[in-house]
Point group: C2
Chain length 211, copies 2
């Protein structure tokens, strides 16, 4: 099993680039096209593919259609992925409306909130009481959850997900969640931190240039 996160992220990027090339009418692609598209070296592209047993044709490059298919299989995109969101604040509701997931074969099955005023069972994406998370997730075989709650609620949201049989979490709360690593995969997205990082490098470059 490949555990290198960067490598898997590159696979997703290759796939996105391939969809663009495909829609432009291209049929074949070479490692240096893909490399340029996502900003790495051609040898990196070939090495990544090699790691996952993807092969092309010497002198002929890779067939775009079959490459996309292989990447989708590796990335688990050959079947629709249903996810649930906990928390319907700013981020939660933006994610609910976000079109980007649908076109990637990711469907938001339901949202959950602790606030009774937020409940809406009739909406296209229903908003349900948090207590129902466990039953809903089990009944609908949900394996992936998104945590978009305030900080203080995040850990308990995670624990509810764990007990609901959820195996993967995308966490937007800016703190470290505690869970047994063998049981659940957690990816963190921290917007403040990403911005802070940009700010650091802008300042650092500035200082370097000044010197």
């Amino acid at each position: 099993m490949i555990t290198n996160k960067n490598c898997v992220i590159r696979l997703s990027r290759y796939k996105n680039a391939l969809y663009r090339l495909q829609s432009l009418g291209f049929v074949r692609v070479f490692s240096d096209n893909l490399a340029d598209a996502i900003g790495v070296l051609p040898s990196q592209v070939r090495k990544d593919f090699s790691l996952f047993g993807i092969t092309g044709n010497k002198r002929g490059g890779y067939n775009i259609d079959s490459l996309i298919e292989k990447l989708n299989t590796i990335l688990g995109k050959d079947q629709l992925q249903k996810v649930v969101i906990v928390g319907t604040g700013n981020i939660g509701s933006a994610l609910m409306k976000y079109k980007g997931f649908e076109k990637e074969g990711i469907s938001i099955a339901a949202c959950f909130d602790i606030d009774p005023a937020k409940i809406n069972r009739q909406a296209k994406i229903p908003v349900l009481p948090l207590e129902e998370l466990k039953d809903f997730a089990r009944a609908n075989q949900i394996k992936i959850g998104v945590i978009a709650t305030p900080d203080v609620a995040a850990q308990s949201a995670l624990e509810m997900m764990l007990s609901a049989g959820i195996k993967g979490v995308l966490n937007f709360a800016p703190l470290r969640l505690r869970a047994p690593a063998e049981e659940i995969v957690i990816n963190n997205v921290n917007l403040e931190l990403e911005l802070e990082n940009v700010i650091y490098f802008v300042n650092a470059l500035d200082k370097t240039r000044a010197a």
Copy 2:
């Protein structure tokens, strides 16, 4: 200059953990406390600090107040950072309302959109026509921008930012932006990709366990 992004991200995490410890009334902290708080080894904490010239007291650990101060200086948080957002779709408007930035000393000075229907000069965070970006950014000394436009508009948004003197960008559009690396820092946040990554590891772990 330190170019290791992970290392800078850890600094931000230390800072967040320190604020929590501070609010709990702690005065001193040891490398293993911080390590545990953000999920790394104590030697990593000390190494990180050492890289940035932060020192504590042998046997006495680090003083929380002064450590926070040092980190804030390093991270460029000693002064209020003003940012602009281009694009007022789902993500753009979620960011506008998001409370997380304010408490980190990041203030959203204005949003910009190409759609005249979105313009609102009276709002607390004004929404202005895209043509005004350049003048606004220059007049207000904005150095940091957020791209929250649809894919097709992202590259041109970046170029407007470049010409407006913006030096750092947080990009939510799921494609690679082209720009001279010496002139501008770009961080990408790609939500589909993050979810895809979670999905991959959930599947991969599942297969490993089955075998």
